[in-house]
């Protein structure tokens, strides 16, 4: 499928925004300005964006504890996200969720999920809502290779097939579940083949290649929107950083870490679109500048935002009590 110029720009913009967000969050975290744990998505941008470019605010996604990229790809406001990660008032979850739990229901973003394997059953529920109400929307579960081994994920895939729901299971195989390699932890040769065993179409794509992800997602999402039921996509990608910020990654070889840099999906995208004459370098440079400013502004807004009032501690436990 030939993408038009605005779509290519938008794809690059979202990927670049994710990368800048992550690079800056890392720097802020290392300076001690961000509390808690932070798990970076850098290196996997082509997956989130390749899928989410097909989605509207009425479509749903469920995410993982490595969720910033999915939020940005789905259209969440980066300033609201940054305030949330800083634990400030005005954060998307008013400072009660933090990095691992960012949600924006108005954008169809059902939440980063700090429980590995937590979101697939929830996404199946969102797909059930869509089907029950007869809507043309879809629900996408982003799960890692680690989450692909959880029983909840198996149950969710089976139920989605049994009920013929518009659910798409995207497995981002970044090579590691925390510090344990996929060749050790996933018993099957292929996560896609395993998903196919539940009775749904499944394919594996190279997650360094935005265009491959985009095309596989298009097919799966179209199938789901037209009543064809669930499907799975295994996206093989490279986690550029450790499991969390501060992870020394001694479990990865020096050669592997060098390859991670070489396989950067943003660089590959840029080379391809300029090489094919579809976009010019100045177009992309302009996007770079726009994203850098957006993230710098977001950090400034987050730093200057007040912390939540202590009165907020006990609010929102229940809708009514």
């Amino acid at each position: 499928m030939q993408l038009d110029r605005p779509t290519l720009i938008e794809a690059y913009r979202r990927m670049r925004l994710i990368r800048d967000f992550e690079d800056n969050v890392q720097a802020q975290f290392e300076q001690g300005r961000i509390p808690g744990f932070v798990h970076l998505y850098a290196g996997q941008e082509a997956s989130a964006v390749g899928v989410c470019l097909h989605l509207s605010d009425e479509d749903y996604i469920g995410s993982t504890h490595r969720g910033h990229g999915h939020c940005i790809a789905k259209g969440c406001d980066v300033t609201g996200m940054m305030k949330e990660i800083f634990g400030r008032e005005g954060g998307l979850c008013r400072g009660k969720g933090g990095s691992m739990h960012i949600a924006d229901l108005d954008k169809g973003m059902l939440g980063a999920n700090a429980i590995v394997g937590g979101n697939p059953p929830l996404v199946v529920g969102a797909a059930l809502t869509v089907k029950t109400k007869g809507l043309p929307h879809v629900a996408v579960s982003f799960t890692g290779d680690g989450g692909s081994n959880q029983g909840t994920t198996f149950e969710a895939m089976n139920l989605a097939v049994v009920l013929n729901l518009p659910a798409i299971f995207v497995f981002e195989n970044n090579g590691y579940g925390e510090g344990t390699g996929v060749s050790y932890a996933v018993g099957a040769d292929s996560i896609a083949d395993r998903a196919a065993g539940f009775g749904m179409p499944a394919k594996a794509v190279d997650g360094r290649d935005f265009f491959a992800v985009f095309e596989a997602a298009r097919e799966a999402i179209e199938r789901a929107r037209t009543g064809g039921g669930p499907s799975a996509i295994e996206v093989t990608c490279m986690r550029q950083h450790g499991h969390f910020i501060g992870d020394a990654q001694a479990y990865r070889s020096r050669e592997e870490l060098e390859r991670v840099r070489a396989d950067d999906p943003l660089r590959l995208f840029r080379e391809r679109v300029t090489g094919e004459g579809r976009l010019d370098a100045p177009d992309l440079d302009a996007v770079d500048a726009e994203c850098a400013k957006a993230i710098a502004d977001a950090i400034e807004a987050a730093e200057s935002a007040p912390v939540p009032s202590e009165d907020e501690l006990t609010t929102d436990v229940y809708v009514s009590y």
Binding site: Y60, G62, G91, L92, C93, R94, G95, K96, G97, H101, A103, L105, D106, L110, G111, N113, A114, I115, G118, P120, P121, L122, V123, V124, G125, A126, A127, L128, T129, V130, K131, T132, K133, A139, G151, T152, E155, A156, N158, L159, V162, L163, T315, D316, V317, Y318, V319, S320, Y321
Partner: protein
């Protein structure tokens, strides 16, 4: 008013709300009577027999049979609740919730708080608690304290058919996740239950009997036992105020404290395990907020801290008996009670 069983009352609540609001769905194992078999439709109405007839009225799109897959049922119901449906998930025996705790504790219960107040999760989880049928340790637990412990969950324990209908209607209309715990020994008990829909608010205890000598707080199936004891003691001139909180979260603390202020004596009867249970919770409530009114130590009548046994005589010994409840009342009244 017509007399109906607890089972019928629950079925009527589901029927009323499904008719009123087409976003209400029910989902669970065999609840449409089993799907994919070679025999008749709606054969069971769920293994509890509670949902029978609903699939004929509302169809399989709203009365959804699932495989045996508790995590997926719970997660799908929570996900559907947070995206615009009002699912009522049946999870058969409460014991089976063990395999899907994450979806309840870490997901549904926390969405609202963790997402900054913007999420609503109008989910009802119906499940069955209690001993008394020799179903032994994996089919007999009363796990309500575990759910009560989790902020974000509301926990409902109807003790009779009238309350079951009104509380379930309230649960379905409520915008929070509600754990609705039916006691298996109560399904065939009867009470007067109106045909029309009515909602009983959460957090409002019922004063089952009124009296000035001693307060008994009892939950679920223990309410009937405590009531029988209260009637028996009345013949000896002992006036019991029996309180059924009906919901453990929210808990009507005011009703309990106000009653103890008058009676000065408290007995708590609960079927949950004693450690970190409702009896201990209510004893602590009264010790911290009503100590000055106490004329005697609080008495707690619970099972021993053991799994539920199988043999009928052991199971009978496990459950709080009328005799133990009566003995506890007499002890807080200062009467000497022979050792059990």
């Amino acid at each position: 008013m017509p007399r109906k069983t607890y089972r019928q009352a629950i079925n009527e609540a589901l029927d009323c709300e499904m008719a009123r609001d087409d976003t209400v769905i029910v989902i669970g194992e065999d609840i449409a009577g089993g799907a994919g078999g070679s025999g008749e439709d709606d054969a069971y109405g769920g293994v509890l027999g509670v949902t029978k007839g609903l699939v004929g009225k509302y169809g399989r799109a709203r009365v959804i049979d699932t495989p045996i897959t508790e995590s997926a049922i719970m997660g799908a119901a929570a996900g559907a609740a947070s995206t615009g449906l009002r699912p009522v998930a049946e999870l058969m025996f409460v014991d089976f919730l063990g395999v899907c705790f994450d979806q309840i504790f870490n997901q549904a219960a926390k969405f609202r708080y963790m997402f900054g107040g913007k999420a609503r999760t109008p989910l009802v989880i119906r499940s069955m608690i209690g001993a008394g049928m020799s179903a032994a340790a994996q089919h007999s637990q009363a796990l309500h304290p575990i759910f009560t412990h989790i902020p974000g969950l509301k926990v409902v324990m109807p003790s009779n058919a009238y309350d079951a209908k009104g509380l379930l209607i309230q649960a379905i209309r409520d915008d929070d996740p509600v754990i609705f715990l039916e006691h298996k020994a109560l399904y065939d008990t009867q009470a007067e239950v109106p045909d029309e829909a009515y909602a009983i608010p959460f957090g409002e205890a019922e004063f089952v009997t009124e009296g000035d000598d001693v307060t008994i707080v009892a939950f679920s199936a223990m309410v009937a036992r405590a009531k029988a004891v209260a009637e028996e003691l009345e013949r000896d001139g002992i006036e019991v105020e029996l309180i059924d909180p009906r919901t453990t979260s929210p808990l009507d603390e005011e009703a309990i404290l106000e009653s103890v202020e008058r009676t000065g004596r408290l007995v708590v009867v609960d079927e949950g395990s004693p450690r970190c249970g409702m009896a201990a919770d209510i004893a602590a409530l009264v010790a911290s907020k009503g100590f000055a009114h106490l004329k005697a130590p609080v008495a707690m009548v619970t099972p021993p801290h053991t799994p539920v046994p199988f043999a009928p005589n052991l199971e009978a010994a496990y459950l709080p008996s009328n005799e133990r409840i009566a003995a506890a009342v007499r002890s807080v009244l200062g009467e000497t009670v022979p050792a059990e």
